[in-house]
Symmetry: C2
């Protein structure tokens, strides 16, 4: 783990995707591995931390997730917007996208899922909760988060901390067709 990554307590893990960032889904089964972009994910529970991610049934990732029962959710910072778009536009059946893009991974502490840290703000290691109907009908994969970590420069004491000096790590949100918005200016809501 790079010096700046720190474990995130499981009860805070769902917060990592609470604000709707586009994520990178990582997976491996045997000698095969893959990486795809996913704009469609959300928490469904804080404790135990559970999430849902839409992974199309025709993707290589879905095949690897079905085989391994596990996947990673890595949250790219804005410097990885180009990579995120690129890995969302090609299939890992034809090439190893990690090798193609020179990406270094570390194995997840619980399930050994390949995880990205460089350029990412955080990751969640997830165990698939088999839900055949939701997977078939809506491509929706439910999972429990079994480990999580975040870069301490942007996630501090269980909370996101977006500041002017960490814009490179701030999350990206896909509008479509390669156009992202960066989660930027922080607003403190006052009750209406």
């Amino acid at each position: 783990m790079p010096d700046s990554f720190r474990p995130v307590a499981l009860e805070h893990a769902s917060r990592l995707i609470n604000h709707g960032p586009t994520v990178l889904v990582t997976s491996a089964a045997g000698a095969r591995r893959n990486l795809m972009a996913a704009a469609w994910s959300m928490p469904v529970e804080f404790t135990p931390p559970r999430i849902a991610v839409v992974i199309d049934k025709h993707t290589f990732t879905r095949e690897l997730v079905a085989a391994s029962g596990a996947f990673g959710v890595c949250i790219p910072g804005q410097s990885l917007a180009g990579l995120t778009y690129a890995v969302g536009s090609t299939s890992g059946r034809e090439l190893d996208k990690f090798a193609r893009h020179g990406l270094v991974t570390r194995p997840g502490p619980v399930l050994g899922v390949p995880l990205l840290e460089a350029g990412c703000a955080a990751w969640l290691e997830c165990r698939l909760i088999p839900e055949r109907h939701a997977e078939d009908a809506y491509d929706t994969c439910f999972a429990e988060v079994v480990a999580a970590a975040a870069d301490a420069r942007i996630f501090v004491d269980g909370r996101w901390d977006f500041r002017d000096d960490n814009t490179e790590l701030q999350t990206i949100h896909h509008l479509g067709a390669g156009k992202f918005v960066r989660a930027g200016g922080v607003l403190h809501a006052r009750a209406a």
Copy 2:
């Protein structure tokens, strides 16, 4: 509909929540109606447009949605951050939150769901797809979008258009505890 709202073609409706904004879920059954904030929603399909939203089974909204089979997803702009936090922190069982906050609604064109436009960037009118297990186990409600509209100052030709002159309508993304980030600076991804 205010002059600036325009219908959104159904095949573009899922794009409205593609980037993970926090939304306001509206509902009504008989003479009762309600409004709650939801950070946890995502598209699950473009065509037909389908989405998933987490609505806790103990909420008044869930009761109204179960009774009516319908709900609205209204997407607040940043000027409604305070309202969004307020309606996410109180229950509609005790008071009519629309009246409490002086909110004007219009009925959805297909199902008559109460929808907000002032201060919002867009809305989606949704018909619940009954999925008892997902609702029970994950509080996840699947729905089909039957109508959608957006403010033409920020959603143009089926796409979001975030600019320096429409920051008030730009979407908000909840980090937790009343702290939101506004989806701000637009990034055009170049393939890595």
